[in-house]
Symmetry: C2
Subunit: 373 residues, 2 copies
């Protein structure tokens, strides 16, 4: 049977991820293959851990990358830290909060949902109320940067409240990681996961993850077996431990980890402060242009994510038609609305490699042309 | 913080996978990034499905690749097809059979183990006995090619017996897929999964998977929710379906799928018959050389996998020392023994790109030098 090699178009990816890769990361993918137990590869993984610690702002010994996308990082956090019967407060203000509820329920945990409107941040008062009513809650989970709406919730305050009630805190930082501050230790977060394809601009398919010592303690004291073999982090500990001989768990996605190493290296080199500033500057430039075209942001100013700009689709324009035009005529991908926002909003991601003037200007010019603004 | 780009050594990978990549596959990794919902990417995924169908020798509509390594493909098969309380007969004749038992137990299924010695194929008589004693069994699971021992079990006969007792059949073909015949439809296998990094010589991190219509029927009739959100294939069906609009489940590992498309293209182009022959020829050449050095194979001739050659470590040689010498002085990786075979056997993989004379000869020469044979 004859097939042709895939000819990929040259897109500018300003959606919700993946983003375009930094050229260095793309190049790193083709390094010669090595075994996942090769001493040289193991050395590299130690660097990956150490760089992840800086970027997560943590001293956590357990800081790794899951060999699967961010949704597996989410599942790894829940299946390891939640046992059947555990009460978990889940703050839901978008699609990914809803997915957390799914995770808790599939484990046989009891999910207590603190609901906020899509586009609003997590309400601290509602969270505290829920904790008062459910003092036997063991975990509080929330999404730091809701990719589906572009809102930032106050991770520091959420964690502070949760700690008062002696809860572990699970934070989804898929879209926030390296784009805005994620201060794992300072805020007291216990399980923090992210994705490789957002502000790191790395290949999709890996999920950076860190567990606090308190989280590890809880895992070690579990009464029940972790329901997933693949995501059972007690089995992975040995492979990533850096102490003594590595034991075999699963075959690591070697080439993706080459890319992750390079992505982390670039991020460390740029420093977090500069990364945060670059994302914010790109957002300001985009905002100025969008204001000139009279777009309305979905999220209130103080909660907006610079890397994920959600705007209402103006009356009179067809969502699919416009996005198709942008894709076909300008090779530009912007994000569609998800769930209840489908057809109503667009999401413009300025992440990692694309958090720069040229991408912003290209996006604004293309929108102007397509919308005849 | 300053780190350096990772400098990878140039290894020849004749272990249990990953293998060296075909140059075309390595090159395909750097194609420009596209979104996972891009119409062009979706078109490519349709080709991936169609090529996988040929290579699995199946007409199954549900034929995809899981966005995670083979162990996640295993878990996907079990969590979708096994419900709490279900009786599952697991044939265990090596490490990966043991992992299947873990999977069943973590679901709350009842695992009935049919044990055979490591290095032996699954005993058909024992399987039939177990089925007679447990006529309410719903699934029979086995490893077609045990990577830990190098043995091939008779998939056709196993499936035939299982079908007599109206069981679904789960087959692990991680190491057999495209190296020896895997005839999904002809043999009546219901869930078949593999890995990308073995005889396909693709990047590690993906798990090709096919479910028969009977398997899909069982999934649709489940009483309980699938315990994993990430591996719930009812949620992925829409994304891969090729019918109408793709809905979002998780961000696909774009670059790895570029590589998979290219790996499948090369395999389809070569044809299964030629792939099987090439693996077998490489094995014969290796066997001749190993015979001359008086190595003993672990597995009896008629059950040997051409792509995974297990040999006893001769008396007087230290496993770790020899493998370290091969790695450091010859850049050659061969596989260590796993589990009860640790320190006792070596596993020489001749998979995909490395199923060729040059790799065989390099391996034999290096062994001769290091062992002073």
């Amino acid at each position: 049977m004859k097939y042709n090699s895939f000819q990929t178009p040259e897109r500018r990816l300003l959606g919700a991820g993946p983003t375009n890769l930094y050229p260095e990361i793309s190049k790193s993918l083709t390094k010669p293959e090595v075994g996942h137990l090769d001493p040289k590869f193991v050395e590299m993984m130690d660097e990956v851990k150490s760089m992840l610690r800086y970027l997560f702002q943590t001293k956590n010994e357990f800081t790794i990358a899951i060999s699967a996308p961010g949704s597996a990082g989410m599942e790894a956090s829940f299946v390891n830290l939640v046992e059947p019967g555990d009460k978990v407060i889940v703050c839901v203000n978008g699609l990914f909060g809803g997915r957390m509820v799914e995770n808790v329920e599939r484990i046989g945990g009891e999910a207590i949902v603190v609901n906020d409107e899509w586009g609003d941040p997590v309400s601290l008062d509602k969270l505290e109320d829920a904790l008062k009513k459910n003092p036997d809650t063991s975990v509080v989970a929330f999404v730091h940067a809701e990719t589906s709406t572009g809102v930032r919730s106050d991770a520091k305050e959420i964690a502070e409240i949760a700690k008062k009630y002696d809860c572990l805190v699970i934070a989804d930082t898929v879209t926030s990681f390296t784009g805005i501050p994620v201060l794992t230790d300072e805020w007291g977060l216990d399980a923090v996961y992210s994705g490789s394809q957002k502000c790191l601009s790395c290949v999709p398919g890996l999920s950076p993850l860190t567990f606090s010592d308190k989280a590890i303690e809880k895992i070690k004291k579990r009464d029940s077996k972790i329901q997933s073999w693949f995501l059972d982090q007690t089995l992975v500990l040995d492979y990533w431990s850096g102490q003594g001989k590595r034991s075999y768990h699963h075959t690591a996605p070697i080439n993706s980890i080459f890319a992750l190493h390079e992505a982390l290296r670039l991020a460390c080199d740029e420093t977090l402060e500069n990364l945060w500033k670059r994302h914010f500057d790109a957002h300001l430039r985009l905002k100025k242009g969008l204001d000139e075209m009279s777009f309305d942001f979905v999220v209130e100013k103080q909660y907006r994510l610079p890397q994920m700009n959600s705007i209402h689709i103006p009356d009179g324009y067809d969502d699919f038609e416009i996005r198709t035009k942008l894709l076909n005529d300008y090779n530009l991908e912007i994000g569609a609305g998800l769930g209840k926002f489908a057809g109503k909003i667009w999401r413009i991601g300025l992440m990692g490699y694309n958090a720069r003037n040229e991408s912003v200007d290209y996006c604004l010019d293309s929108l102007k042309n397509v919308l005849n603004k």
